[in-house]
């Protein structure tokens, strides 16, 4: 029983990180039909911005995190959109898939070459003391990961539905031409989606790197899991990404514990294929409505 609970709680904690990455992914997909194959690297890089801030620029942790957030939004949001997505998008999805794959290699190899191939320790932002729950152990960090992901979903949903900018973003995503006519600055709204994605990736990076450790190759699996979470949950809903992320996190841990460790990586893939073939809009998605 305690093992069951342990695996469930740990799965939820991991899943909440998948969810954060998947949400950003969904936003960018909605806004600019961009499947970002470098999304995993987007989560790997901000941790190194923090390390550069602390060890090269000599900032204290809090300032380094602030610096890293800003740097991520500029580089992974603004520069990514302007220099890669904007020029390549018109030539089609396949070109963009390859460009983001190349970008992933570029980020990985740059971090490796300029910061080192070995993993680096990363300071925890929250206390790591264990908390005992009916025989299972979680850390404060795990709980906060979960709380923060839920908080982000609620805040983002409120932002998109209740504010003028948020509704403009939805309009721009659903029907850019009409939105333009109605006076929405479509280009700016799309840019917002990229900036929010970068910020979410940075947030995920700060939360997981204390456990995952900072390493250039960390993005390889994370990016793929985030896609799967986004697709399984439903591409067109933020809450879909949350459900998808948590579901994958929990299922992955249960399969590894109770069924097979060798094939644990297969389950999300099979789930992905089944969902795409039977319910392409995802578990939470609606087939026609395209909300951001």
């Amino acid at each position: 029983m305690s093992q069951f609970l342990q695996v469930l709680l740990s799965g939820l904690a991991t899943g909440s990180i998948y969810a954060l990455v998947a949400i950003g992914f969904t936003l960018v997909w909605q806004a600019a039909q961009t499947v970002n194959f470098a999304q995993g690297e987007f989560v790997m890089v901000p941790a190194f911005f923090v390390l550069v801030g602390m060890h090269v620029l000599g900032f204290p942790l809090a300032l380094a995190v602030g610096f890293a957030l800003l740097a991520s939004i500029v580089v992974l949001g603004f520069v990514f959109k302007k220099l890669i997505v904007e020029p390549i998008l018109p030539s089609g999805g396949i070109s963009l898939i390859i460009a983001t794959m190349a970008l992933g290699i570029l980020l990985r190899e740059s971090v490796k070459e300029f910061y080192g191939a070995e993993a680096q320790p990363f300071p925890p932002l929250f206390p790591t003391d264990p908390i005992h729950v009916f025989g299972a152990v979680v850390s404060m960090q795990d709980l906060l990961n979960l709380v923060i992901s839920l908080g982000v979903v609620i805040l983002l949903t409120l932002f998109l539905n209740r504010t003028r900018t948020g509704r403009s973003m939805q309009a721009a995503a659903q029907n850019p031409a009409v939105a333009e006519i109605l006076g929405v600055d479509v280009k700016r709204m799309i840019m917002y989606a990229f900036l929010i994605n970068a910020a979410l990736a940075a947030l995920a990076s700060f939360l997981i790197t204390p456990v995952y450790l900072a390493k250039f190759s960390n993005g390889e699996t994370l990016g793929l899991v985030a896609f799967i979470a986004a697709i399984v949950g439903g591409f067109n809903q933020i809450r879909g990404a949350l459900v998808g992320g948590l579901l994958i996190g929990v299922l992955d841990n249960f399969v590894a514990t109770y069924i097979t460790a060798e094939y644990r990586a297969a389950l999300p893939l099979i789930l992905l294929i089944v969902i795409i073939l039977l319910r392409p809009q995802g578990i939470m998605g609606t087939s026609e409505g395209r909300a951001v």
Partner: protein
């Protein structure tokens, strides 16, 4: 004039391919051989993607199926030529099955299904070690011996691969010029119109996948005797990306695109090697730059230049000009 020039150029190319390894060390010959092998794999993907418009991120997994089938059979004492037949058939059938999702979903979703398939194949190869040797892979596969012509020597193996490549290219040439080939293009340009003109789009989609996969299997079957060692890691998703990159760099939908693309993708890191640690960084940056400036691939560059230099043929602005076979 044109009609005379083309066979002349093809003959020249063939001659270049024949003299290329003469006087070269084993390494260059090895690189040339992998170039031919990856050209075959890209040719297959080019049919699926460039002609029929169906994206696939699973080409490396078909190389794996071809490579493992050939390896297991040749280790069991079959001749390579005999082992090739079941290898290609297996790839054709599995490709046919993988084509079914393409009947339902398109674009990014299809990319993900095929990507997932590739990873599943990798997991099976790694975990079922009673059959595939698991993590340790399979080692010591013989190179084909034709009595009068043994391929143990690197140069001989190159010519053997070249012969297979020429046959494969000739078959591909015939396929894309046959009614099937035209149907493939019709499917890419406008599936609905193709359907209404009587093209059986279901059958054509499945065929595009199956034939493309068989070419992947052929490439894999050649990897086995070339490297004489195979392990699951050599057929992971990253390698499917690499083949996709070859098709796009060369120019999807151009017959000679795969040869050019495979050449660039294999040789570029080689030429950048003097930059030591930075070569992959520069390589990735070059790929991005290429996609920004010449999205139709390197063969597209030539079209662009020609249009600039010699003026463009008058075309209707409302009809989209797509790359066609020339």
């Amino acid at each position: 004039m044109r009609s005379l020039l083309r066979p002349f150029l093809i003959a020249l190319l063939l001659l270049a391919a024949i003299v290329a390894p003469i006087g070269q060390g084993n390494y260059i010959t090895y690189v040339l051989t992998s170039w031919l092998i990856f050209s075959i794999a890209s040719m297959g993907l080019n049919l699926t993607l460039g002609y029929a418009g169906q994206i696939s991120l699973a080409q490396a997994s078909f190389m794996a199926i071809g490579a493992y089938t050939t390896a297991l059979l040749t280790l069991a004492g079959w001749h390579w030529m005999a082992a090739l037949v079941p290898a290609l058939l297996l790839c054709f059938v599995i490709g046919l099955v993988l084509g079914y999702p393409a009947l339902r979903v398109k674009g990014h979703f299809l990319a993900f299904v095929t990507l997932a398939f590739n990873t599943l194949v990798f997991l099976v190869l790694r975990n079922e070690d009673w059959l595939t040797g698991g993590n340790y892979g399979l080692v010591g596969m013989p190179r084909p011996d034709f009595g009068f012509f043994s391929t143990m020597k690197q140069h001989n193996f190159y010519y053997f691969t070249l012969a297979i490549t020429i046959v494969a290219a000739a078959i591909m040439w015939w396929i894309v010029r046959s009614p099937w080939g035209r149907a493939f293009k019709a499917l890419r340009e406008n599936p609905i119109r193709a359907e209404s003109l009587g093209v059986d789009t279901r059958r054509i989609t499945l065929l595009a996948f199956a034939i493309g996969s068989a070419y992947g299997g052929l490439a894999g079957a050649l990897v086995t005797p070339l490297v004489q060692f195979i392990e699951p890691g050599s057929f992971a998703v990253a390698h499917s990306f690499r083949i996709l990159l070859m098709v796009v760099v060369g120019g999807a939908g151009f017959f000679f695109g795969p040869f050019l693309g495979a050449g660039v993708v294999i040789l570029l890191p080689e030429m950048l090697r003097f930059t030591e640690g930075y070569y992959l960084i520069i390589y990735a940056a070059l790929v991005i730059l290429m996609l920004v400036f010449t999205p139709k691939g390197l063969i597209g560059v030539w079209d662009l230049l020609r249009n600039r230099l010699f003026g463009k043929a008058q075309i209707r602005a409302d009809v989209k000009q797509e790359p066609t076979l020339k």
